[in-house]
Amino acid sequence: MKWRYFRQHMFFAVVRLSALLIAMALGGIIVYIVVNGISVISWDFITLPPTDSMTKGGIMPAILGTLYLTIGAIAVALPLGVVSAIYLTEYAKQGKFIRLIRTGINCLAGVPSVVFGLFGLGFFVVYLHFGSCILSGALTLAALILPTIIGASEEALKAVPQMFREASLALGVSKWQTIYKIILPTALPGILTGSILGIGRAAGETAPIMFTAAAFFTAKLPGSIFDEVMALPYHIYVLATAGTHIEQTRPIQYGTALVLVGLVLGVDIIAIVIRGYMRKKKRW
């Protein structure tokens, strides 16, 4: 009898330890980046362009570039994803067609990010002659985050109680009006918080923009969507691996990593907090 409980205690200890290890890994990485990066962060660091062949100055063009790419990606992927999710939850009936679409979404979610990069290079940059620019990068990132947004939207739509739909239809409201006036407004906060997690993903990805949008250094800020941009993740990668000043630019690397982590996790934390708040407030 005792042995059975001893074994249980041992097992629980191992399980708790593994959860603790994961928390420590996250905490350790964040603390390390913050401790090493915080001294670099200043107003000048985030508002000035790099100078002296990247060894001095700030990272403003990279911050701006990441914002452009992320906003572009979300502007394309959000409507597309939400409409797909509405179709899947509200219109589709079980069958071969929906099975095809679901398999397509699942497979798309599993495509490696570098393959998205190759696709963006082959399709947007070369075939459509966009060249390496904001447009190509944003569209490539949009393809990458589409499955995330569909998944989040679907979950939010499924959480709308069935009786909302029934009540609306019983009043003689058409299906589209029910979706537009009842279902979407109810699901919108859930859709948005879920999609914010997609924003974080788009902002942090490197491989898809390496061949489609990112430049090591641009003398001017981008003037149109057909210009190349600097981007935070690419900036970290290039400074840390290439060039002759790897050790010299270490502080800038830490600072850039901190800005990127702050941006991505900050957005994620906001989404998680809002979602928790909404779940508590829910009245049905």
């Binding site: 059975r4 629980f12 679409i101 998205f116 990805e205 490197t206 491989a207």
Partner: protein
Amino acid sequence: MSRHLKETIIKGIFTAFAFASVLILALIVVFLFREGIPLFREVSAMDFIFGKEWYPTYDPPSYGIWPLIIGSVIVTIFSCLLAVPLGVLSAVYISEIAPASVKDVVKSIIELLAGLPSVVLGFFGMVVVAPFLQETFDLPTGLNIVNASVILAIMAIPTISSISEDALYAVPREFKEASYALGATKYETIAKVIVPAALSGISTAVILGMARAIGETMVGLMVAGGAAAIPESIFDSVRPMPASIAAEMGEAPFGSGHYHALFATGIVLFCMTLIFNIIADYISQKFKETGSATL
């Protein structure tokens, strides 16, 4: 316009939009093959996949990606040795053991871990894990299989954990109650009832975690060391496929053999992850729980 017609048109538009994902997937396949296939006028598919020498810039070049495939497979397997136990056990912790308040915190931590940009993890591997390994084991370089596997495991854990947790959560309550009613301890219930019942979902989680690790680019690029040779020890450097594509695409002249070879490597990588995904999809469909009666 009649109301009925309007509804039909709207439904048509929605259907077309929903098809976008399938279309993008098809375009990915088309453009990978369009740019990758020309390579096979120069080398045969067998020589490409099983060739042991990757010297794309030599004259004459040799395009054998076997060392890259081995590199990818090795770091994936080693990272799973770490990520599978940690991921599954943390899922058990969240769904069965943790008190409600701790549960939400741990779930958020795992979500944030999933949100960490891969380039930041790669950077961490370069500046922290690499010097540590180099000093501790007295190695020529800390950028090697062990380093890449550890960092990749950190990336795969959230995938494995969250999907496993869904699977554990879906196990019907009656199973637990029946087990407790028979006098089983909580441990016995978890190990002999809950985990076996959720096994198909956990397998899906592991496969998707592996797919994540094999396709990850920046970590392989920054911390695996980049040697395109078949490794002899776990402290050797390797060059996983995604890393090779990312590192060399910038230098490969457009339309050259090297350029096509990198796309062809992309095809191999795409096919490998696709197979993982199809298996995962198949398992989750085949063993879908539709109620306690199906088990």
